[in-house]
Symmetry: C2
Subunit: 160 residues, 2 copies
Amino acid sequence: MTITEIKAADAGVAGVVGEVTRNCVMTRTRRISRVITNIYDQALRPHGVNASQFSLLVLIAKLGGASRAEIGRANYQDRSTLTRNLAPLLTEGWVEEMVSERGGRSRPVVISEAGRSLLVLAVPAWRSAQVKAQELLGEEGVAAIVGVADSIPPDELVTL
Amino acid sequence: MTITEIKAADAGVAGVVGEVTRNCVMTRTRRISRVITNIYDQALRPHGVNASQFSLLVLIAKLGGASRAEIGRANYQDRSTLTRNLAPLLTEGWVEEMVSERGGRSRPVVISEAGRSLLVLAVPAWRSAQVKAQELLGEEGVAAIVGVADSIPPDELVTL
DNA sequence: TCGATGTTGTTGCATATACAACATGAAGAG
DNA sequence: CTCTTCATGTTGTATATGCAACAACATCGA
């Protein structure tokens, strides 16, 4: 490699770094996710539940008797992730296996009485975190994030 | 618990579920993060690098000789997460330990020649994913996410 | 009825993420 | 110079995340 080529390559790298740094929405999306998740984690910690678990529990309550695969699709998560994220909720007794009416391997889950109690007890902490998050994101930011999330097509997960 | 109390509790839970479902920015932020990350993961896969790693490598290149703690702060990540996320990059040889000038336990890292090559080779895949992501997010969505991410205060991670 | 096909759940593997606790070393206070 | 304090990096633990491969079950076509 000649000096010229080395300089060209370096310029190439610098260009790449600048382009990605200036524009990458993946980097920013993940960054926002970490920061926001942290806010809710802190607020919910006293209740022994984390952000991801609280979120999943609400979804399960909303869907009411959905299978793992259905929950996964509703939440844009892999089936296997769902199976694993469900484990702590089952251990804590916030969620229960249902007697599956629908045949197949479908194994629907429902929120338990303990789960409902947790939601009611922890929702003030969620509200507090929500306020902080809204302050951090700003009005436009909140509107944009809600708008974007609520308009993701149901089958957007490439694999699944 | 009387029938009345049960109904009240149920109404309470339904209210909580509705409120969180309609408004939670944490749930949405995490959802967006999963979907967007997936897009870049797929595009970058042929190059043997994932979204998180590509992102981190660019950051390391941009910072040029930053310590783990500094990289973590720049990326709103815990120190320990940085140490661990660095491992695959070191294994692949995309990043190298520097001879630390600054004393203390500071252990700065730099991008290697192999790392620079990877960036140049993989950037077309990144661009392709970036286009897909922009289509999914929409112009406003992209603007909002960039604006939000770039305005997070440097010390926003509660713990750190 | 039987075989092909598709869905569902699980498990092995690799990585991402954070907290708590610890060891190390630097910098100041006295 | 010593003790305190602070920043840094690592490790143990727990969870989150997705892919690949597999097993189990349903359904449909021939």
